[in-house]
């Protein structure tokens, strides 16, 4: 097959996925979709193999192959009808955590099943013990909301009303969930139409040949990349600092074995599964390994199941990287995913020095709240994420204040945040001096201070990196840690959540009461530095000083700048 037609086919498939994502963004009700784009869309074969995906949320791109593979083993493909839509969020069957809902719709041409149109996205409110999910003190999946095995939410084009009623009876914000579900269905409807049109236009056989060739091409490209890494065994360790229940840290250990043009990511030796909600599901363990490898290889490789064929992931059950039923996992997809992905990248850093990076802040500082709207009486929920500093790289400083490496999710713009929710944003700024020092400095973290205006709310949080710093690499130094403080109305004292509410963890907790006038300050973690500070050129140090990115003390004491 010639490269021109292959590239055109690949480009069309990806553009379908992007259009699906734009449809989802524009038709959704919740800010986690409309502003933070916490979703992705894809097209798959009847086997569950991923054909193409939109470049939205990396954790979902890497998570989709296992999720689809699990689902197609539970669905009777012969029973599928045109117009069916299947919904799934089960963390133990390929899912990523309970909020991550996947809608997939079979695509038929002339009666033949040619594939699936897929939308996966983070539904803000899923029931369970805390409004807007992310119960930082959950100890079982039943605290984390309603679990949905693969079920038909539409059958032959008609809503299955009983399923809708059951789903919407179990959440605090049924109208929003209804709207967001419809947005996801609109996305899979569009993907179905476009995929079917494409196959009809060129013929089913030609469509299948092009898709197979595209996946083989991705596999060849990925194998060629892996073959550049010297054969060997590469190991690295990092920790989740606590699980929300006790102060114990949990180890992520990885050994990456590179042999020729394939590699094996083995997590054996990681800690047993935690009691609290930091456990990764198997889907997260796969997705984090894939994410890391995609970060380290040529970004132009088409992202489909082909490029993942050379990568084998081993995640022993009952560990923090492969949770067993009924262990909780809601923080595993945002916090532990980035810890695992960075551990894989850290392991491969000696073999891929030019492409290596220090860790990013590697926490999303997930900010969750809910309450009753004083004007309408309707319950509202919100999930906002906080940007982090990225790690220094072999050729440049880390980016300042962007979405973490597994989310790629923008935070909610201040204007939208204040308009939709009862908070006033008092301050939103880069935090000077937080980037890990190095030849290439880590990106700066972000701080956001918000004051509750007029509504009683509950506040929950899921984060990490308050006790253990983001690491530098190749002699680079650590980035700044995360912080979270609260100042009660009428008080001048900034307290940690442990000080204010006696919670076991300062970064993972559920249902703290918020009253009008209470103020919260969230500071995200920064990126680690790359290479020794002695090698940083003086002009960059002076520029950082003028920009206020480093403090005068850092310039002298760390970088050795002479006045």
């Amino acid at each position: 097959m010639d490269m021109v037609s292959l590239n055109i086919a690949g480009g069309i498939l990806v553009s379908i996925c992007r259009d699906m994502g734009v449809t989802l963004m524009r038709t959704s009700y919740s800010t986690i979709f409309s502003e933070s784009l916490d979703f992705t869309c894809g097209l798959a074969l009847p086997s569950g193999e991923l054909v193409a995906t939109g470049d939205f949320c990396p954790s979902m791109i890497g998570g989709m192959p296992l999720l689809l593979r699990s689902c197609v083993q539970e669905i009777d493909l012969a029973e599928l009808e045109e117009g069916d839509v299947i919904l799934h969020n089960d963390p133990y069957r390929g899912g990523l955590h309970t909020p991550e809902h996947t809608f997939f719709k079979p695509v038929f041409v002339d009666g033949a099943l040619i594939g699936f149109s897929v939308a996966i996205g983070h539904i803000c409110e899923v029931g369970g013990m805390a409004p807007a999910g992310f119960a930082g003190e959950a100890t079982e999946v039943f605290h984390e909301g309603l679990r949905v095995p693969p079920v038909k939410i539409k059958r032959a084009g008609k809503d299955v009303d009983d399923v809708w009623r059951l789903l919407l009876a179990n959440v605090r914000t049924p109208r929003y969930n209804y709207g967001d579900f419809r947005a996801m269905i609109a996305a899979v409807d569009l993907g179905e139409r476009r995929m079917a049109d494409l196959a009809r236009k060129h013929g089913i056989e030609s469509f299948r040949e092009h898709v197979a060739a595209l996946m083989d091409y991705s596999e060849r490209r990925m194998r060629a990349e892996i073959a550049q890494i010297p054969d060997g065994r590469y190991t690295f360790e990092d920790y989740m600092e606590d699980d929300g229940i006790t102060a114990d840290a949990y180890k992520i250990r990885v050994e990456v074995v590179v042999e020729g043009d394939g590699l094996i990511v083995d997590y054996h030796g990681s800690s047993p599964q935690a009691r609290g909600p930091i456990n990764a599901t198997l889907g997260v363990a796969w997705g984090a390994a894939y994410n890391a490898i995609l970060q380290l290889t040529d970004a132009s490789i088409p992202k489909n199941s082909g490029c993942f064929r050379p990568i084998r992931v081993l995640a022993p059950p009952g560990t923090v990287v492969n949770v067993d039923f009924p262990g909780p996992s809601v923080g595993g997809n945002t916090e532990t995913h980035c810890r695992i992905a960075n551990t894989v990248m850290g392991a491969l850093a000696p073999g891929l020095r030019d492409r290596s990076a220090a860790t990013d802040g590697a926490s999303h500082s997930n900010f969750l709240f809910g309450g009753t709207d004083r004007r309408t009486g309707e319950f509202f929920c919100c999930y906002d994420l906080t940007p982090v500093g990225w790690g220094g790289r072999s050729f440049a400083d880390g980016n300042d204040a962007v979405g973490g490496i597994n989310g790629n999710c923008p935070h909610i713009p201040v204007e939208v945040f204040e308009f939709r929710y009862p908070w006033h944003v008092e301050e939103f700024r880069l935090v000077d001096g937080t980037g890990g020092p190095g030849q290439f400095r880590g990106g700066l973290s972000m701080s956001k201070t918000v004051r509750c205006t007029d509504t009683e709310m509950t506040f929950s949080y899921m984060s990490d990196r308050q006790k253990l710093s983001p690491w530098g690499i190749h002699g680079g130094q650590d980035g700044g840690r995360a912080e979270l403080f609260i100042k009660r109305a009428g008080s001048e004292d900034w307290l940690t959540i442990t000080q204010a509410f006696n919670k076991p963890s300062p970064s993972k907790f559920a249902n703290v009461p918020i009253h009008p006038g209470d103020t919260i300050r969230i500071t995200s973690p920064a990126g680690g530095g790359w290479g020794p500070v002695e090698k940083r050129d003086e002009a960059s140090v002076r520029e950082d000083l003028l920009d206020g990115f480093i403090t005068p003390e850092q310039a002298v004491e760390i970088y050795g700048l002479r006045p």
Binding site: H268, V313, L314, P316
Partner: protein, 60 residues
């Protein structure tokens, strides 16, 4: 995966001891049982044995 006879719920999640994948009916043909544990394939049995050997040797 062990489903109830009526197929309405999961009785137990059957996972490979080495790589952690769920073993559904279609995967049973390749699955191997050893020391009361189930593995998705001979490859996983061999890998685990090799890893145990390597790590024991490194510890000595």
């Amino acid at each position: 995966m062990k489903f109830a006879p009526n197929k309405l719920y999961v009785e137990s999640y059957v996972k490979c001891r080495n790589c952690g994948v769920l073993i559904y009916d279609a995967g049973r043909a390749d699955a191997v049982t050893k020391d009361d544990a189930i593995y998705c394939s001979e490859w996983c049995v061999d890998w685990e044995a090799d890893r145990d050997r390597r790590r024991a040797a490194a510890a000595e």
